[in-house]
Symmetry: C2
Subunit: 206 residues, 2 copies
């Protein structure tokens, strides 16, 4: 009888522990700035963010620099789809700056085969541009200590070409990415907020 | 002793029940087609989906038909940002069709003021197009019974103009929206999957 009693108490304790385990991680994951999704390897390279994950983050804008309008070779060919985690979007909307650990992903896609020299094509919805294949990833990570020399953000490129992307990337030299952000968007937390309606216009309803 | 034993067993059962409760809703919410986000009013009009909500759904593509390339008046001015709920994206990737109740939102934005006749402008990243202000919403809802006459999808427009959008919309006549989907994309569940890399290319990693 004593054994059964102890077993029952133990079962109670174990299942309460399971309940705690099952509920706690959900709450923690939603706390703003609780954890960065940036993962660095032993050499200090940033690991490729998982496309299955970041393609489900909040989309903030799609600048488009077609090869056809950039002498055949755009610096970023061609659509730039920009994604930010929801918790960091919320923090930006509240405070005007991104929390430490924020990761911003820019995934490129080609445009579908053009029928005009400017890169556009005719479709039932009109003449314009339409997303072709995935074509590269650039990532920025906010870490004021690690990237103090470049206004608190590190810049990484995993290649501007079709899949597969590089699995890890070393920090890009400041002359390659950071200089342009420092020159143009230092006042908006090093991010091109002026191209992202949700952030720029504060997620407007009216 | 007997009382304590029963109490201990009961505690075990209760905490096991709490564990079940804590874990089950997460699974249920991810079941494809569990619930539609479409809300109709008493007159059968579709209520405007909440922008704060759908702008956090999964972004699938950004066709762009600039006014500058469409005689100054594109049918859809100008960026089309297309969003689908994650559970419905997952179902599409698994089955090749969308569950009953799926809502697809296309929110338009203008392009930032152009400096060239085609609608493009020069920015540090190159010559191209950049998201201006929000400029309209079109929505499709899958309901094979309600919209049987138009291949199972209803089409709604909340205006192609700056905010505020209409608060509710009646189903658009088939000659306005559905005919074009029926003529061009009946084989891909009435949706322009060929312009949405995540859906078209099956969310590729490699």
């Amino acid at each position: 009888m004593k054994f059964v009693f102890i077993t029952a108490v133990a079962l109670g304790a174990i299942s309460w522990g399971l309940f705690e385990l099952a509920t706690k991680p959900v709450a923690a994951a939603q706390e703003p700035g609780a954890q960065s999704s940036a993962v660095f390897d032993a050499q200090g390279k940033l690991k490729l963010p998982d496309p299955h994950v970041f393609r489900r983050w909040v989309f903030v804008g799609a600048p488009l620099t077609p090869n056809g309008l950039n002498n055949g070779h755009a610096n970023f060919p061609e659509y730039h789809h920009v994604y930010v985690e929801a918790k960091n979007v919320d923090a930006y909307l509240k405070t005007g700056s991104f929390p430490e650990g924020t990761v911003i992903v820019k995934e490129l896609t080609r445009v579908l085969d053009p029928t005009f020299p400017d890169g556009s094509r005719a479709e039932p919805s009109g003449r314009g541009f339409f997303n072709g294949e995935y074509n590269g990833i650039d990532v920025t990570v906010k870490d004021s200590k690690r990237f103090a020399k470049t206004n608190g953000w590190g810049f990484f490129t995993f290649g501007h070409h079709p899949l597969p992307y590089a699995e890890a990337a070393a920090e890009a030299p400041a002359t390659e990415c950071a200089f342009c952000h420092q020159a143009n968007v230092a006042k908006t937390d090093m991010t091109w907020v002026q191209f992202y309606p949700l952030l720029r216009d504060k997620d407007p309803l009216k």
